[in-house]
């Protein structure tokens, strides 16, 4: 099964039936449950979904940084035609940075507080590229400029704590991109950024895709960012991809009831709303997953079948949806 349209180029990344679980005293807890998608070179795949749905874990698994007690218990990950979920730690470490750049959700935890911003960038650049110290420093300064740090020559020798939250986030982005990886996993890369800097970062990502054929997985809760940047979007809920398809389709004409609720929750400037629309209730805990469709306790359109069986992910107009409402439709 593939999610791309007519005769696509060979995928850069291919994730097949990926499942991640945590071993606990009470047995394994499944946090990611059989997700499948392809990513073509130059493509940007947006990933949205409820907090705790498994977006970051998916990114962590692809970069090979999943830590015990977490483990991949089913499925495969292929990158540039090579299976990577079975690679050893050392091989994975070499792939990361050079070929796979990762921007994590916690900007502070990915920076070393004891090293200046410049030392960290120069070290990363020189690990992956044959450059002299001076050339690497030049490259570091130009990358800081690319991510919108004012007066980079003056600020490169400062420590992370001397930067604002958004500036730290941009240093992490510069660190992930400075070796020109072919796959970028960007987990909430612009959460702390105002819209104009955000636009600059998204431009940089788009440019890397256009000029170097890099592919990006962009995890964000900001549908504005997705609409503006991504080619396709995957919507996750409770460890599964419940809907995936071209952005315009999913944003304008969502199929899955969770996606519909998500679109309605977006606050708008000038709406004058007294309350924001919210999907009532909370995502089920991993220890108490309901039978059938995990969304059924909150779904306004649930019917008898929903609490009985898990809906399969089936094709609908260019994308795929996992919901019993669409199980009857012809593929």
């Amino acid at each position: 099964m593939t999610f791309s349209t007519s005769s696509p180029p060979a995928p850069l990344l291919s994730v097949r039936d990926l499942s991640i679980c945590f071993d606990t005293r009470h047995g394994p807890l499944r946090a990611v449950d059989g997700i499948t998608f392809d990513l073509a070179p130059g493509e940007i795949l947006g990933m949205v979904g409820e907090s705790g749905a498994g977006k970051s874990l998916t990114g962590t698994a692809i970069t090979g940084l999943l830590e015990r007690p977490g483990r991949i218990d089913r499925g495969e990950i292929h990158f540039e035609g090579q299976r990577i979920d079975t690679l050893g730690a050392e091989e994975m470490r070499r792939l990361r940075g050079r070929k796979i750049g990762a921007i994590f959700q916690d900007p502070l935890t990915s920076l070393n507080p004891l090293m200046t911003v410049g030392q960290q960038l120069v070290q990363t650049i020189r690990t992956h590229m044959p450059l002299s110290r001076e050339a690497a420093r030049k490259r570091a300064i130009s990358f800081l400029e690319e991510v919108g740090i004012p007066a980079p020559e003056a600020r490169i020798d400062q420590y992370p704590h001397q930067f604002s939250g958004g500036m730290r986030q941009r240093v992490v982005i510069a660190l992930a991109l400075c070796a020109e990886p072919s796959l970028v996993i960007a987990d909430e890369p612009t959460t702390a950024l105002d819209v104009s800097i955000q636009a600059q970062i998204l431009d940089l990502l788009k440019r890397m895709c256009r000029d170097h054929g890099a592919a990006v997985i962009l995890v964000t809760h900001d549908m504005g960012v997705i609409a503006e940047t991504a080619d396709r979007v995957a919507v996750m809920y409770s460890g599964r991809v419940v809907e995936i398809g071209p952005v315009e389709k999913v944003v304008r004409d969502p199929h899955h009831p969770y996606t519909t609720g998500l679109m309605q929750s977006i606050p708008r400037v000038g709406s004058g709303a007294e309350r924001l629309t919210q999907i009532d209730g909370a995502m089920p805990r991993l220890t108490a997953l309901p039978d059938g469709c995990a969304f059924h306790p909150r779904c306004p359109r649930a019917f008898a079948e929903c609490s009985r069986s898990k809906p399969a992910s089936l094709p609908v107009e260019g994308g795929h949806v996992a919901c019993h409402l669409y199980q009857g439709e012809p593929a």
Partner: protein, 361 residues
Amino acid sequence: MTMTDASQPEPLVSVRGLSKTFDLSAPFLNRLIERKGMQHLRAVDGLDIEIPRGKTFSLVGESGCGKSTVAKLVVGLHVATAGEVRFDGTDLTALPAAERGTFRKRIQMIFQDPYASLNPRWRVRDIIAEPLRSFGITNSRAEEREEVGRLLEMVGLSAQDGEKFPHQFSGGQRQRISIARAISSRPEFLVCDEPTSALDVSVQSQVLNLMRDLQDELGLTYLFISHDLAVVDFMSDYVGVMYLGRLVEAGPAERIFSAPEHPYTRLLMDTVPDIAMGRRDRAPVTGEVPNPINPPPGCSFNPRCPLANARCRESAPELIARAGGTVVACHAVAEGRADLTGTAPAGIVGRDEPTACRGAA
């Protein structure tokens, strides 16, 4: 300058001339050897804000403009270089450390970086219970346990989650833990630095609705920081727009959103992404990125402002009161040459209607 109308009582929080300068100089010996001068960064420069009890004042502005520094100054995590922070009549900046204790319970902060503010070695229940214990809010273990469970459920987690450690949660879940912790001591004044930036929209809606409910029930006062203007629009009674450490426009939220006057505010309102418009390349903000170490003379916005003239490059504009209860620091606005509707300055106001509209199809 005042943003409260006359009928309103004394503001709960009143900030006057607040400034913070960071010393970025290399150590003395290096300066001597490398012949480098002292280097200072003025992160906050003469800020005035008033927040009436039970209201929300939001700070907006570019990354690095000084919002978090203001937040930390207000709660006492930074020592102000100049100015005062009055809380319920007391100047906190002049208070000896020993007397600050009583205010700690009344003022709480939610930090921009949720992970860094949670002790990784503590269980979540202890993180949330710590303020309950130290302020003597709960009297027994059972009561404490119940209260922690209640707080966790309020932010959309479950009572059992208290047994886990911070690293076992997703980014958005951690942010909710820090919110639960901040409200546990039942503060009167909550400083929220990007409290929902890592949350997906539906959880964000739950948290923001919760924050408004708490405000209605408990009369909470908020200093709110967010880069998401739709969120600011929903939460705020008053909005202050910062640029390079200074307030350039402030006033009632509906006024700032419907009729922004400062060229920078208008630019800000214009860059709101619009999901209805789909994929496009946003007009990038032109001009050089401001450098807080060596700010341009005169109005610090002048290198990027299409209305800038010789006066703007020489003297910094002061805040002046405008119709509608706002204050604006801009020579063009003061001189009446910042026409808002007819000839919009190119690259700044891209539409006739200045209200930014962000909506789904």
